[in-house]
Structures are given as structure tokens and as C-alpha cells.
């Protein structure tokens, strides 16, 4: 019994730790420009529980700080997809993708090259 309690407490502690209020994560999000940056960050922050979102135009990395008790990475990714941006696991639907400004069509290789110039 004692052992179980100890394990339970330890697990609980781990769970609480995992459900940190300031959980950090870095995920890759597709996009090309400053407009995408604003769109992606806005979508993240509109998700309840997300505290800070910073997407890099160069690396496509999105650095997130969120309250793990209120949200999780999947719902953030779904939110990102809903404004038209792909992550590795959750892709935006064609309709969602087409809702982005024409200059932000990141799935188009030619357009990507233009932004690189």
C-alpha cells in the first residue's frame, strides 16, 4: 500500500509537472512572410491558454508558451490549420488554405522562391 501511495504521489507530481502552466514547445509551421507570421501568432494567441507565440519567418519554427492545463499542442495546431497553415501532423484543408492572402500561398514552390529573393 505504502509503495502504491509513493508511486501515486510521484505520478501525480509528474502529471502536475507535465501540466505546467508555462509549458514550452517548438513546432514547425509552414508559411512564407510577415503576414503569415501575424496570422499564425494571432491564431495561437486566440487559443485560450496560449501565452506567447513567436514564429520565425526564416526557420518556420514556432516557439510556444502555453498553459498545459487549459490547452494542448493538438488544439493549437488545429487552430493554426483553421487559418490556413500546415503543421507536420495537422494540415489545413484546401478551403482553409485558400483563405490566406494570395501572396501567402506557401504550398506554391514558385512563390516560396520569390520570398527568398
Amino acid at each position: 500500500m505504502k509503495k502504491i501511495t509513493v508511486i501515486a504521489i510521484m505520478l501525480l507530481a509528474t502529471v502536475t509537472f507535465a501540466q505546467s502552466k508555462n509549458e514550452q514547445a517548438t513546432i514547425e509551421v509552414d508559411g512564407v512572410c510577415m503576414m503569415c507570421k501575424s496570422r499564425i501568432e494571432k491564431a495561437c494567441l486566440a487559443t485560450k491558454g496560449v501565452k506567447s507565440a513567436n514564429w520565425s519567418v526564416e526557420t518556420h519554427e514556432l516557439k510556444l508558451y502555453y498553459n498545459a492545463q487549459k490547452t494542448n499542442l493538438d488544439s493549437i495546431k488545429t487552430k493554426i490549420a483553421s487559418v490556413g497553415h500546415d503543421t507536420k501532423d495537422i494540415k489545413a484543408t484546401e478551403e482553409q488554405y485558400l483563405s490566406v492572402h494570395p501572396c501567402c500561398r506557401y504550398r506554391d514552390d514558385a512563390l516560396k522562391d520569390e520570398h527568398k529573393e
Binding site: 508555462n22 501568432e41 494567441l45 501565452k51 506567447s52 485558400l98 494570395p102 506554391d108 514558385a110
Partner: protein, 749 residues
């Protein structure tokens, strides 16, 4: 069976292979509207298969799986190549080609950058801009900036006085690294105590500004960020010499003491020992002076723990001698042999800052700032003696965080200031000693909302308890709204309150024969009440492309409304009167500024300013003296492309035109000592050429006031300086005429 399913699945593709692809081409626009583009060429790359879009922008093309790249082109638009992997209707927006430059031109760092994003109307002046006018200290750093006017305060001290929104520097909060420094006793000469090479960048905020740095700012805030041991060059030397025989020397040494500690030693010396009297009025055109200025900085950086700290030690010794050419301080001091003046200043400052950023949670940070300064000025102007001792302590704690997410940022904290003033005077009419202590405790809170797109606003409030000013609230508000691309509408309002150091701020009155009177005696500060003003501002910034090059235009309107002001009344030429405002006093300023990158490397900045500054004097409502109503400013700079070996040429020219300025009344003087109603207009031209030989070495050559414009009679009654009409305050233009200088900069990176 299984094979059949595969076949069925493949069927649409095989079928599609013989199909056509259709689509619509639109013109790209900011509103996401569907504007069809008729007559656009659409063709498969490296084939002859193509089509032209119809009136509705639609096209049809044969498709097979070998075709991957679809080219869409149209005159006046950017050609796009689309990758087609599957057969489905295409919608494509073509960009007009004048937007092209925006993408392809490599963005360059601008010497002066206006923010499109922040809520406050803030301008950042980088060290590149500071190099455009090579000389020499902070008061001269604003020559190429249209928002700040640089004037001469009087004909004796040679001090430059800055103005913003039509108001003099006491109404501007001037800070170094966010610690208010040019205030109190150092108000008159303090800007010349910050050498130009020590300045890394300057932030100029028009309007009320933030509540974080105190309640004193009214017209705006200027913050000078100084060079830092870890980012400055290991070794730097700057030598400057001018045709007036003014010489300056700056050296910087920076070194890492340990992994976490670095230190920098910054030495500045300037000297001018040649007497000039170009206008033959018997008075020096500029004072003789020597200055030694030393700063030692220690920087501690610990990124693992999120700590940064600075400790600064500063010492200054400044000596000036002015007055008649034949004046010899050893024999003529405080006599009527010759009129002369000496101003000796010693100042030391110790300041420490500690910043902590939570490495786990980057939006949480705490900053602590403390600064102590001692300032001692001993001076005399003719027979008037003025000494001031000012000891000051400043402490500020700021906590930064967010509420719920990073769109909502907060800053909150506490501040404490202590100032002790001890003034000794030997001037007719005035007490021999004025002494006062001021202290204040305040709490502030500032909230910033940024919706990451169109709206950004900052609202701040502080409550202060001050032993002489009472307990009061200082609200300040700034908002930025962007309704369409590259635009920023800004609005702000805020309150400021301060005690006026009437003698320190108006030292030039001692260099006159005027009798000095303080007309009120019920107030706490020299018998006067504190100054209170509200500032309101509106601004519109629009960036655009003109002939394919970047340009922006700014319209600014600011109004400062004094609830109380210590009026400095020169309207009787025999007197200078200080009294509390009875009626209204305001400063309206309107500015239109345009920046244009005419071609690569060539930037043009032009501005027009209109000032309407009026005060109810006891003799009636009048325009503020020596403040031009109209001002035109133009600055052109050109730099050649930077070569691989670091060689570069830089050219810079600044033109300033000041409209007529009102002279304070001299009608009761005998006609020989009367001036007109208004000054003539003044136009000056400065230019500089810099040759960069390598990243380590450059030389520069320049001229100030090249067209040799001079005010002929800056000193009234120069023949009889101890008579009753002597006055050195009627200065509206350059006294010395043109001056040329050369210098070099050498650095070890």
C-alpha cells in the same frame, strides 16, 4: 478484384491526363477582392501550349502529367510560375510589378527609423545617423533631425539649446539609458556633457511619453543609449579638429575581464583656446573651454540565470570662459575693467542597473535602476555670481509581465527621487541663498495591448507623492491604428508636472543688465507654483512607393496646454520677470515630413514645421520670443555601395531655413538700443564627406554654416557692458559664420 479497385482509383487520373485545366487569374489587392485580369498570358513552361485569359480572367489549357510548371504573365505585373501537381481549377492572384521592388530590394538599415508598429510616436536615431554630423556631443546630435530644433541660447556661453514641439529642453525628459540625467542643475549645459561617441542610439518620443520614467516630461522624451563594453569596439579613437581651433579627442577601451564581466573605459577631452571675434564687437564669438569627461562601465552578463547588470562611474570637469576679448580672469574677475564670465562645472555620477529575465518565461522580467549624481557649478557673469550644488538620487524598480497572453503586456513598479538644491547668488534683487529639498515616491502601471495587426495601445498611470508638488496622478495614453498597409495613425495625450529651476534653466539672464524679479511669493519653489501641462497629439504616417522607391510621409499635430507655467517675461528690456501664468499658454506644432529613397544609396528627408507658441504675459498675449513660426528642413545623404574591402564614400548635407522670429519688446529703450519687431530669416547649410578606407579606419571632412550666415550684432550695448542696456540674449542665428573641420576614426573590432 483488388486490381479492379486500383484501376478504378487510377481512372480519374488517367482520364484527367487527357483533360484540360481551367482557372481564373486575378489582380492582387489588399482587400482580397476578386478582380479578374483579362488578357493575361498563361502557358506551360518550355512548351508552346498557352492561352490568354478572357474578360472574366478565365482560361482553359490542355493538360497532361508532363506539364508541371504553369507560367502566368501580364505586362505591368510580376510573372509567376505555378507548380501544378493535380488537375483542379486554378485561382491565382498576380502582383502588380511596382510592388516588385519591395520584395527584391534588399532591405537596408535606415539611419533614422520611424516605427510603424509602436503606439508611441517614437523615432530611433542610430549611430549611423549620429555620424552624419560628426561633432561632438549630444546637443549637436540633432542637427540632422527635423523633429528637434537646435538654437543658440545666448551670445556668451555658446550653448546650444534644443526645442521640441516649440518648447525648450526643460519640458523634455532627457535620459541616458532611461535614467533622467539632463535635469535640475545640468539643464543648461547637460547635453554638452554627453560626448557623441558615447552614444549608441537615441530614441525620440514625441508627446507625453511613458509613465515609467517619471512625471516630468511634457513635450516629449529623449533617451540616449550609451555604448556597452560587450558590443562596442575593443579600441576606438576619434580625433576632431576644426578651423576655429576646437579640438576633441575620444578614446574607448573595452575588454572582457572574465567570462561574465566586461569593462569599458571611455575618455573624452575637448579644448578651444583660440579667441575669435569675427564681428568686431569686442566679445568672443564663442567661449574658450576645456572639458575632461571620463566614464567607466562594468557589464555583467549571465544568460543562464537571465541576469544583466551595468555599473557606471562618470566624472566631468568643464571650464568655460566668455565675455570680452581683453578680459583676463586673473585681473578682471568681478571688476568693471572688462566684462567676462567663467563657468566651471564638476559632476560625478554613479549608477547601477540590474535586469533579470526569467530564462524559463521570457516575458517576465524585473529591472532595478539606481543613480546618484553630484553636480557643482561655480560661475559668474560680469558682476553677477551664480553657484549651484545639486545632489540627486534616483531609484526605479520595474516588473514586466503579461496578462493571459503576450498581446496584453504590463509594466509596473515604484520609483523614488531625491533632489537637494543649494544655490548661492550675488545678484541685485535676489536672495543670496536658495536652498530646497525635493523628494517623491511614486507607483506606476502601464498596460499595452497589441492585437498583432491593426491596433496597439499603451495606457499608463502613475501616482506620486512629492513633498513640494503634493500628491497627484499622471495619466498618459498612446494608441496606434493601422487601417491599411504601411500606415499608422497615432493619438496620444498625457499630463506632466514639474518644478522649474528658474535660475539654472535661464542662466543667460545673468549675462544682461536686466533686473531679475520673482513676482510671486506664495509658492513652494522660489515662491512659484509647479508647472502643469497637458499634451495632446495626432500623427499620421504613410509609407508608399514613388517611382518604385520607398518613401514615407508623416503629418504631426501636437498641442501643449499649460495649466500653470512659470512665465519667463522678457517684455521689459530692463527687467526679467518670473511669475505664475495668469491666463493661457500653449504651444501648437504642426509638422509635415517626407522621406524618400530617390535611388540606391541616396536618401532625401524634407520637413516643414509650423509653430504657434503663445503665452499671456502681463503685457498681453504674445508669441514666444525667438521662436520661428515657420521652419524648413532638408537633409540629403548619399553613400556609395560598400565594397568588399570595406571602402565607401558618404556624403551628407543639411539645409535649415528659419522664418522670422519675434524679438521681445525693446521699445522703451533709447532708439540706439532698440531692435526691430522681428528678426530676419536665417538659412544655413552644413555638409560632410566621409571616406571609409576599411572597417577599421575612416576620415571625415565637413563644414558648418558653409554660406557664412551671421547675426551681426548679437550683443546689445556691447560697447558698454556695465551700462543699463547690456543684453546678450537676443540671439537668433549663428555668430561665428562658417567653420570647417576634419577628423578621423580608428577602431579595433
Amino acid at each position: 478484384m483488388k486490381h479492379l479497385i486500383y484501376l478504378l482509383l487510377l481512372w480519374p487520373m488517367l482520364n484527367g491526363a487527357q483533360d484540360k485545366i481551367s482557372g481564373t487569374i486575378f489582380e492582387a489587392n489588399n482587400n482580397n477582392q476578386n478582380l479578374p485580369l483579362a488578357g493575361a498570358n498563361v502557358y506551360w513552361l518550355n512548351t508552346e501550349i498557352g492561352a490568354v485569359t478572357n474578360l472574366d480572367g478565365e482560361f482553359n489549357l490542355p493538360y497532361n502529367t508532363n506539364y508541371k510548371k504553369l507560367v502566368v504573365s501580364y505586362v505591368g505585373f510580376k510573372t509567376d510560375t505555378l507548380t501544378i501537381n493535380e488537375l483542379k481549377p486554378i485561382k491565382h492572384w498576380l502582383q502588380p510589378s511596382d510592388n516588385l521592388d519591395e520584395v527584391t530590394v534588399t532591405s537596408r538599415k535606415r539611419a533614422t527609423a520611424k516605427s510603424f508598429l509602436s503606439a508611441t510616436n517614437v523615432m530611433t536615431v542610430s549611430s549611423d545617423e549620429l555620424l552624419k554630423a560628426a561633432c561632438c556631443n549630444l546637443s549637436e546630435s540633432f542637427e540632422t533631425n527635423p523633429s528637434i530644433d537646435v538654437n543658440f541660447a545666448d551670445a556668451v556661453s555658446g550653448t546650444r539649446q534644443i526645442k521640441m514641439l516649440g518648447l525648450t529642453s526643460p519640458y523634455i525628459l532627457i535620459a541616458t539609458e532611461n535614467i533622467p540625467t539632463v535635469r535640475g542643475a545640468s539643464q543648461a549645459f547637460g547635453l554638452s556633457f554627453i560626448p557623441g561617441t558615447w552614444v549608441e542610439s537615441i530614441q525620440i518620443t514625441k508627446g507625453a511619453g511613458s509613465v515609467v520614467n517619471g512625471f516630468e516630461s511634457i513635450a516629449g522624451q529623449i533617451n540616449a543609449e550609451l555604448v556597452k563594453p560587450t558590443t562596442d569596439n575593443k579600441f576606438f579613437v576619434n580625433f576632431y579638429g576644426a578651423s576655429s581651433e576646437r579640438m576633441e579627442l575620444n578614446t574607448h577601451f573595452n575588454t572582457n575581464v572574465s567570462e561574465k564581466w566586461s569593462t569599458g573605459l571611455y575618455l573624452h577631452g575637448n579644448t578651444h583656446n583660440q579667441k575669435h571675434d569675427v564681428n568686431n564687437d569686442g566679445f568672443l564669438d564663442m567661449p574658450l573651454y576645456n572639458q575632461i569627461n571620463i566614464m567607466n562601465r562594468w557589464q555583467y552578463t549571465n544568460p543562464q540565470k537571465g541576469l544583466v547588470s551595468f555599473i557606471n562611474l562618470k566624472f566631468l570637469n568643464d571650464e568655460k570662459q566668455a565675455g570680452q576679448v581683453d578680459f583676463n580672469p586673473d585681473t578682471d574677475k568681478l571688476t568693471t575693467n572688462y566684462w567676462g564670465s567663467e563657468i566651471d562645472t564638476k559632476r560625478y555620477e554613479i549608477s547601477a542597473k540590474l535586469g533579470y529575465v526569467n530564462p524559463q518565461i521570457p516575458w517576465q522580467s524585473v529591472g532595478v535602476q539606481t543613480a546618484f549624481s553630484g553636480h557643482k557649478q561655480e560661475s559668474y557673469y560680469g558682476l553677477n555670481v551664480y553657484e549651484i550644488n545639486h545632489n540627486s538620487l534616483y531609484a526605479n524598480v520595474i516588473y514586466n509581465s503579461i496578462i493571459s497572453d503576450s498581446r496584453h503586456k504590463i509594466k509596473t513598479g515604484l520609483s523614488y527621487t531625491y533632489d537637494h538644491y543649494d544655490e548661492v547668488l550675488d545678484v541685485d534683487n535676489l536672495n543670496p541663498n536658495y536652498e530646497r529639498t525635493e523628494n517623491s515616491v511614486g507607483a506606476f502601471f502601464e498596460y499595452n495591448f497589441d492585437n498583432l495587426e491593426k491596433l496597439n495601445l499603451t495606457a499608463g498611470l502613475r501616482v506620486d507623492h512629492h513633498n513640494l508638488l503634493g500628491t497627484f496622478i499622471t495619466p498618459r495614453f498612446h494608441a496606434r491604428y493601422t487601417p491599411w498597409g504601411k500606415s499608422a495613425f497615432r493619438a496620444s495625450f498625457g499630463r506632466g508636472k514639474r518644478s522649474a529651476n528658474i535660475f539654472a534653466e535661464n542662466q543667460s539672464v545673468f549675462a544682461t543688465s536686466r533686473s531679475i524679479n520673482v513676482l510671486n511669493n506664495s509658492g513652494e519653489i522660489y515662491g512659484l507654483d509647479p508647472e502643469i501641462a497637458w499634451n495632446y497629439g495626432l500623427s499620421y504616417l504613410q509609407g508608399f512607393n514613388l517611382f518604385g522607391r520607398k518613401a514615407d510621409v508623416t503629418l504631426d499635430f501636437y498641442r501643449t496646454d499649460f495649466k500653470n507655467q512659470v512665465v519667463v517675461d522678457y517684455e521689459n528690456p530692463q527687467e526679467i520677470n518670473f511669475y505664475n501664468l495668469d491666463g493661457e499658454s500653449y504651444a501648437n506644432s504642426f509638422q509635415v515630413e517626407m522621406n524618400y529613397n530617390v535611388f540606391k544609396g541616396f536618401d532625401l528627408r524634407t520637413a516643414y514645421k509650423f509653430y504657434d507658441v503663445k503665452t499671456d504675459y502681463s503685457s498681453g498675449k504674445l508669441e514666444k520670443p525667438l521662436t520661428p513660426k515657420h521652419r524648413v528642413f532638408a537633409n540629403a545623404s548619399y553613400s556609395t555601395a560598400l565594397k568588399d574591402d570595406g571602402k565607401q564614400w558618404k556624403f551628407d548635407a543639411t539645409y535649415n531655413w528659419l522664418g522670422t522670429q519675434r524679438f521681445s519688446s525693446t521699445v522703451i529703450n533709447p532708439t540706439a538700443f532698440q531692435l526691430g519687431d522681428r528678426t530676419p530669416t536665417v538659412a544655413t547649410l552644413n555638409a560632410q564627406i566621409t571616406r571609409v578606407f576599411s572597417p577599421k579606419f575612416e576620415v571625415y571632412l565637413g563644414g558648418e554654416n558653409i554660406t557664412n550666415v551671421r547675426q551681426d550684432n548679437p550683443v546689445l550695448s556691447a560697447d558698454d557692458p556695465f551700462g543699463s542696456y547690456f543684453d546678450t540674449t537676443f540671439v537668433y542665428g549663428p555668430i561665428f559664420g562658417s567653420m570647417y573641420y576634419a577628423g578621423l576614426r580608428f577602431k579595433v573590432l
